[in-house]
Amino acid sequence: MLTFRTATLPRMVWRGPILVLLLAAAIGRPSLAQEKPKFSPKSSPAAKPSSTKPVADPALIDQQGYQDILGKYRGKPLLVNFWATWCEPCRDEYPMLNELAKKYAPQGLRVVGISLDSDGEMILVRRFLARNQPVFPNFRKRPGKEEQFINAVYAKWSGAIPASFFYAADGRLIGQIIGESTRDNYEAAIRTLLASGAADTPGTPSGSMPGHE
């Protein structure tokens, strides 16, 4: 059953089976492996997921595109995750986020991924998405104007990834997870996010911008 603790002190519970799943997922991830020189650059065929059908290239977005996404999802609790193929902890967390997106979709959670890969990394991006088969849409930040983009998302953010931002149904940014984190942290944050949506009167978002594309 749900037990609640404050989001700043997420509970640490041993979740053996989940860890096993995460490990399995981690083995299955692409070896993009500049960060892991000791591993063979060849993928492990045993752990390769059976479905590696291509996923459409993520659409490029700029700062305005980001605002458009937030507008489009207004009315739903939204988790935005920033990732890149060059970011090892991002790669580690991505399968877990995909599972959480599936798990909490019935409760209204929406998830959007935003890649910070450069144009030259698109081959890796395609491979990464094909292997992970995300159930949520992914975009890619158009390279350039990093600082403005970072500050527009959240002024106190340094630009370090992984980073996730949690938007309530009314569009308010209510929390963030910056740096690598645990499934427990994410679940606690998602529950808080979903509860924040429940607190609002349905149909009366406080924001005035309709913001649909």
Binding site: M1, I150, A168, T192, A195
Partner: protein
Amino acid sequence: MRRVSIVLALCAIAAALGFWRVASQNSAPAAQVTVGSKVGDLPFTTLDGKPASLYHFAGQHGTLLIFVATRCPVSNDYNQRMAELARDYTARGFAVIGVNANRNEPPEEVAQHAAEKGLGFTILKDLDDRVADLFGASVTPEAFLFDTSWTLRYHGRIDDSRNPANITTRDLRAALDAVAEGKPAPVAETKAFGCTIKRLPRS
């Protein structure tokens, strides 16, 4: 069901209390050293395990610290640029040091990487993340430029593009040029996307 609603209500109250932040165990704490503030002497460890101190690396015009990594592709994209910076500005009276605060990159690996990439500047380990925490350093590469009074004059990126072909502003060089002349950096604080510094887990 009733219990769920109570829990949800409690969550709602907690959420209503305001913006929350899940500080993951490895995220950067708030910086205690900000642009314009002075820093005291700080301990480092050399790559062969000896104690070292920040004040030992005092340049004629100031000291540049860059947080670096061996396994971060962003930091690695800057290897050549950092080597050039160190060569150019050591000659102009700055001390240039790299700081590795990543728990997963042991000193031997850092030394080998620096030799292979021809970085050409001293790299120190920040073994307990003390300096990274004090500075609020969170990504690699991330630069901190001090003048001779150990006042922070610039904090941020090296330039505005990982891809050298797309650089439009070289913020760190501009700051170094200014500080060399005793002037404030044109832009004293910048941000860039980068790999998180792999900090020690906090208890």
